[in-house]
Symmetry: C2
């Protein structure tokens, strides 16, 4: 293994993995090395460009912490997240479609009761959200755990606001549990379009590519229930400017819903809202878990 050149290096790297005893890892790394090398050959990558790439990845790594995940942003903006989501979530058409996870989920959101105001001080116009979680057979899924998270009216998730929030103070983020009829309802704030964090290397990449960083208004959901496939998805707000140019390629027509505006007056919680408010009604249909096991 001396005198390896640009033609023989790929086979040399693959040959070096001969003792790998993890067949799946071997498959993945063999393909990765082949495609990575093909890319470098195809564009005749220069040493200066390689140095820039090392610098870029280093910057992505250094801006990433437990509150900011720039590698997920990178995957999202390069369409890899949508590709992986799509190829792993083929479902019967009656099921709610999946979309990208995004970088803003955090473990340990507060577990709130149905009807709670999950905004917890996050700024925005009031919005009342309700719906039902069902299985493919139409049966309600009682006790489903729903994680919901969204940005405030300035486009910021709580984790992006370390100075405005206490370390453990969650805003516009909660975990709820469906009732005996699979139903849920909560109060939050209106979803608005926002740019993905673009003050870091991924933002500089988008700018250099002539791309905007905006996402259409949406609400994130992750729903888990025994016997059902985990659902990670968004509900998008109809009429939003960026539905056809989502920076992370996540929009599905079936996930676009009406946010209905109401003037000040009686609200779904039985009280009188002194300001205009919105309502969103959206039902989710979970795939059965067996399908997931078949796929794995």
């Amino acid at each position: 293994m001396r005198n390896i050149n640009e033609d023989t290096i790929t086979q040399a790297v693959i040959a070096a993995m001969v003792d790998c005893n993890n067949p799946r890892l071997l498959t993945i790394m063999t393909s990765l090395v082949q495609h990575l090398h093909s890319f470098a050959r195809e564009v005749a990558l220069t040493e200066a460009e390689w140095e820039q790439a090392i610098g870029f990845l280093t910057a992505v790594g250094h801006i990433t912490d437990d509150k900011r995940q720039e590698f997920i942003l990178l995957s999202d903006t390069l369409g890899l997240s949508t590709l992986v989501t799509a190829q792993n979530n083929a479902k019967p058409p009656a099921c709610t479609e999946s979309t990208v996870f995004g970088p803003f989920f955090v473990e340990g959101a507060p577990e709130l009761s149905l009807g709670a105001d999950i905004a917890n001080g996050a700024c925005g116009e009031p919005c009342y959200v309700s719906g039902q979680v069902r299985g493919l057979d139409g049966q309600p899924v009682a006790g489903a755990l729903i994680d919901v998270w969204q940005s405030d009216e300035d486009g910021h998730y709580d984790v992006q606001l370390p100075t405005a929030c206490g370390e453990h103070e969650h805003r516009a983020r909660a975990r709820l549990c469906t009732d005996g009829e699979g139903r849920f309802h909560f109060r939050s704030i209106l979803a608005v379009p926002y740019p993905i964090p673009h003050d870091g290397p991924v933002g500089r990449m988008l700018e250099a590519l002539g791309r905007h960083p905006w996402r259409p208004a949406h609400l994130h959901f992750m729903i888990v229930a025994p016997g059902y496939e985990r659902l990670i998805t968004h509900v998008f707000r109809d009429g939003c400017t960026y539905l056809d140019s989502d920076a992370v390629f996540g929009v599905r027509s079936t996930l676009v819903a009406d946010w209905v505006r109401h003037e000040a007056g009686p609200a779904p919680d039985g009280k009188r809202s002194p300001v205009p408010f919105y309502t969103l009604q959206y039902d989710f249909v979970l795939n059965t878990a067996a399908a997931q096991e078949d796929r794995a």
Copy 2:
């Protein structure tokens, strides 16, 4: 751009770059996206594997600092560095060949006089290195700047030993300048084989792949002179165990040289060495700079 699926995502990402005004960047990113997506499709990458990849890259980013460059290690161990080096350094056969840069170069090495002991306290058997820098026409290159760096006998570069060295204390690392006849000589320590840093994510990757982390004994050189192409290379020690299984695929036959062992006695610096010592004589032939400009 709604309802993108695993078949249409690649074209959607490429279409989003329509306003990019940097043709070279557009070429690179188009190819990168195509190959990255082809990889994910070919292996049918799962969401759990994608999460592992995000976690791996995050770990690579977090262990990287101004003393440790895990992304370069990753590029080196996946053969990308050798590929980029090879495809950018086609030279006339009479020139000294290039090899990988590695992660241990640092700017600002001490500028020492010819004959200096660059070890500066680094442990190892004494070694006297000498040679000449010439152009393709055989003419000596006076005033060439030579950066040289190597590990100590334990396989550690100075930058890997923050507690043993002062922050700015360099060991077994220096910048020298050739004399009027293009000649150089210095004292250092014997080069030994060593494992690349394998206590981080790249080490875990190698272990999972059944690969060892060892590099054959070598001395790093970077030589810069006006009118000549910058040369980044190693000189490898003949007879070393890992010459045929270098963890970073960098060995070239023309870069393998004899380190000659001598018993205690008269040394090349005119003094008497009380212990056995080694000598290495190696000449470098630089390519002319025009060739580099043609290639760019």
